[in-house]
Symmetry: C2
Subunit: 294 residues, 2 copies
């Protein structure tokens, strides 16, 4: 036996997050063998060219065979099928985890397929860039970022600890919370901002041709920041939106009411209201700076 | 006579933009004398401590006396009163310009006070950071950024050229356009994104205490970018919103329809619609990169 955290670590999906885990796992000696699988032959070939792992296996069931830790790093919409495919091949005592941004849907989709002798520890590292694919990964992507774990009640404590150790070794801070609560928090801090950013880019694109050219030409800092968010992976975000529908729609509804109220204040010249709202958002910004997340 | 562009350049308002002009004007030798005025005694004292100009004058009428170029760099909501105060003191042949983000309102508020012998050249540099005040200015803030000029028909061509030269010397690109058109373009690229950013920060702030702490703690990249936009100056943005009301409300209305359609697609699982919208916003992002504004 080696002194490494895992004997055989299998990553299913080698995009931004998967390839960042692979790079970090290598750098920090987290696993003796890193096995990489991806539904895209192109991504898998690229992962091999980049030498991100030790074994490259297109078949997910074959990829998890003999692994003591398996992490699903594919878009969450593919998790139900993936879970069904790999379940019969999972080793007794293995830990099954994931990095999906929606945790209730992952527990709903993956949970029923997990054998009794496998420990299921759902996780979500809150980190990313606007780039995607095997080339986009960074060994220090998770440095100083949070990774939220949502193990269902009764999950094997040792397995939870091992996943915490994995993320802490990659530089992340870890916290445990209820999956439903996770989904509400991420809906407001991440999913809704992305929905809004995707939308406003489309709104601009729909303007008359001449104006659109100028929108691009004169894009001010406000719009530039929005397009940076909006450059993220379409399939990943489509899956996040539809798999965190309830929390996302609730937060969207709250936002819409607030935006309508702001628009009404603009229409009627209610300057006190506008200033008060701007001042409050500055305070949130200051709080973020104080706790070093900005 | 010196060979400098201006003999006496007066900046009224020494915040982020005014102090960036002062620094750039000094660096590039744009004016023989730089006169600084500000309604805030604290800002004016600070400008003097930073040696941003040559003369510091709290009275705006006294500040413009003898100047061959005056640039209003205060929040646009103060322009009507400022214009009335300085009009009697403006020198024959002087150029009066500004940096306000809303151009129809500036022409409406300032235009009637401008003496026939003064050349009024409204301008808007599309540049900024989330910081404000005399300390926030940067000599190269305008480098590679656009400055839009909206001179009313019949404006003296030589005066327009001098203002173009001023901005080009500061490193900016210049373009001329109709004020109404300007207001629509900036409404979508800048004003609406700020309104949305201020709003979503408030929406988050309204969540229950426990969740709000976690909103701050786990703020993902999406939300962080929004709070950066939302950290901008409250009075400046209050004035921009109310002074570009019509264009802003039109763009908000378009955005709201699009956001509702996106929320509906999420609710009903219309994944094709969602993916299509995300792909379109990625294309806008790519266009911005292609023309080097991102």
């Amino acid at each position: 036996m080696s002194d490494k955290l895992f004997h055989r670590l299998t990553l299913i999906g080698i995009g931004l997050i998967g390839s960042s885990i692979a790079r970090g796992a290598r750098l920090h000696g987290i696993a003796q063998t890193i096995v990489i699988s991806d539904a895209s032959p192109k991504a898998l070939t690229r992962a091999e060219e980049l030498a991100l792992g030790d074994v490259y296996e297109p078949n997910p069931a074959a990829a998890v065979t003999g692994a003591d830790c398996v992490i699903l790093c594919a878009p969450v919409g593919s998790f139900a099928i993936l879970a069904e495919q790999i379940a019969p091949a999972l080793a007794p005592g293995a830990i099954l985890s994931d990095v999906g941004s929606t945790k209730q849907s992952v527990i709903r989709d993956v949970g029923p397929f997990v054998p009794a002798f496998v420990h299921f520890v759902p996780g979500h590292p809150i980190a990313g860039t606007e780039f995607s694919g095997p080339d986009a990964g960074l060994a220090d992507l998770f440095q100083g970022r949070w990774c939220l774990l949502t193990p269902p009640p009764g999950t094997d404590e040792d397995s939870v600890k091992k996943i915490e150790t994995l993320w802490q070794t990659l530089g992340a801070l870890t916290a445990k919370m209820d999956a439903a609560h996770h989904d509400r928090v991420t809906a407001i801090v991440s999913h809704l901002p992305h929905l809004i950013a995707f939308t406003i880019c489309g709104t601009a694109d729909d303007l008359a041709d001449e104006t659109r050219q100028e929108v691009l030409q004169f894009a001010a800092s406000g719009f530039r920041d929005f397009t940076r968010i909006a450059a993220s992976d379409p399939v990943m975000w489509r899956d996040i939106f539809t798999n965190n529908k309830d929390a996302l729609l609730e937060m969207f509804s709250r936002f819409s009411e607030d935006a309508q109220a702001m628009a009404r204040a603009v229409r009627w010249g209610d300057t006190d209201y506008i200033e008060d709202k701007i001042n409050r958002s500055r305070k949130i910004r200051q709080s973020l700076i104080d706790i070093k997340q900005a």
